[in-house]
């Protein structure tokens, strides 16, 4: 077959190669954890620097962090609603920051300069495990939000407005995490692959617009992920009349 005739690491890309860590019986993708620790460490350092000395007249980093906070609050408030958005704002914000930092870190930092024995460093969100983990957390969150806010009445949502909707609504509980995880995974991986292939074929100039496009998609994907997560939670806590 055509696909089989291609080498797995075409265009000097190592697709589907991982740096395995073996701990007892479990195997981990080491490169995902390495990059995520570096990026999250940078994020936490950035945030603790910005919140070290909080003033009433914000300056410098505090200004940026307050803008970010305001942005996340608006996102959570518009999707979840005035009543419970406060409880879910940290989760939505963390999803946004995690996905954003992962995507941009994967696109901006020249990880390829660091050689690993197997696999290569890159955006943590280009690994299916990460995106499925995030999507499942979103699923758990909206179930928890619905049940804790409305109790058993949450399941009225499945037969609202008519019982005919029941199979579709049940199906939705599976398609929501599936679409969330595969959208993010596909976009980020595709971006990395496109940039990698272009860099291999035409190392000069040509990859630059694609890299900018990649940065744009990365930011948009973070926003989409956080917005959809907030929307699902808002849908679960919404009161039907």
């Amino acid at each position: 077959m055509f696909f089989n005739s291609l080498p797995t690491n075409f265009a000097a890309l190592e697709v589907g190669q991982h740096l395995y860590w073996q701990i007892g019986n479990i195997r981990l993708h080491g490169q995902v954890f390495l990059t995520s620790w570096i990026l999250l460490g940078a994020l936490l350092v950035f945030i603790s620097l910005g919140t070290k000395k909080m003033e009433n007249d914000p300056k410098g980093l505090q200004n940026l962090l307050e803008f970010l906070w305001d942005y996340i609050r608006d996102l959570a408030r518009t999707q979840i609603g005035e009543k419970v958005y406060r409880d879910w704002m940290p989760f939505i914000g963390t999803l946004f920051l995690f996905v954003f930092v992962s995507n941009w870190g994967g696109a901006l930092i020249p990880w390829r300069l660091i050689k690993l024995p197997s696999g290569e460093l890159g955006a943590p969100t280009a690994d299916i495990n990460t995106t499925i983990a995030l999507a499942l957390l979103v699923s758990l969150s909206y179930f928890y939000a619905g049940l804790s806010n409305k109790g058993w009445r949450y399941f009225e949502y499945y037969v609202h407005p008519t019982p005919i909707m029941l199979p579709f609504k049940i199906l939705e509980d599976f398609t929501k995490p599936l679409s969330l995880s595969f959208r993010l995974f596909g976009n980020i991986l595709a971006d990395e692959l496109v940039v990698g292939v272009l860099v291999f074929l035409v190392p000069l100039v040509l990859p630059i617009p694609v890299m900018f496009l990649g940065l744009f998609t990365s930011a948009i994907q973070a926003l989409i992920f956080a917005t959809l997560a907030a929307y699902y939670i808002g849908e679960a806590v919404e009161e039907h009349h």
Binding site: L44, T51, N56, M89, P90, L97, D127, I128, A133
Partner: protein
């Protein structure tokens, strides 16, 4: 199996799901708690404190403005009262002076009439006394003439 061969399914591959998934989920949950205490809570406190401060100040300013407007209206009505009061006083004074003038005029007229009458009476008296004197003189003269005529005879 074609796609999975391409992605290197058996060992690794793009869709190689393993313990990375739950560990990453735990990591994200931990990150949520860390970010909540490090970022969302402190920044939220500061921002909300400021929002409260600003809205309080706006309320204060609004209250003060309404107070100022009330005072302004008060002053305006006082001014209007004072103005009408002044008008009243002026018109009263005008009436008073008018009255006084009329009284004085009447008094003067009366006085003038009285003196005129007196003068007239005096003139009449004098005229009548003068007439009487004239009559007397005429009598005297006529008597004198008569006497002289008699004597000449």
């Amino acid at each position: 199996m074609l796609a999975f061969d391409f992605f290197g399914a058996t060992e690794g591959g793009l869709f190689d799901i393993n313990a990375t998934l739950p560990l990453m989920a735990i990591q994200v949950v931990a990150l949520t708690y860390i970010l909540n205490s490090l970022f969302f809570k402190p920044v939220g406190n500061v921002v909300e404190k400021r929002e409260k401060f600003v809205s309080n100040n706006i309320m204060d300013a609004k209250n003060k403005l309404s107070e100022v407007e009330k005072l302004e209206a008060d002053l305006l009505s006082q001014l209007q009262n004072a103005r009408s009061e002044a008008q009243k006083i002026v018109s009263e004074a005008e009436n008073e002076s008018d009255k006084l003038y009329k009284e004085a005029l009447e008094l003067a007229n009366n006085e003038a009439n009285a003196s005129k009458e007196k003068a007239r009476l005096e003139i009449e008296n004098q005229t009548s006394s003068a007439r009487e004197q004239l009559f007397k003189q005429a009598d005297d003269l006529s008597e004198l003439i008569v006497n002289r005529l008699i004597l000449e005879k």
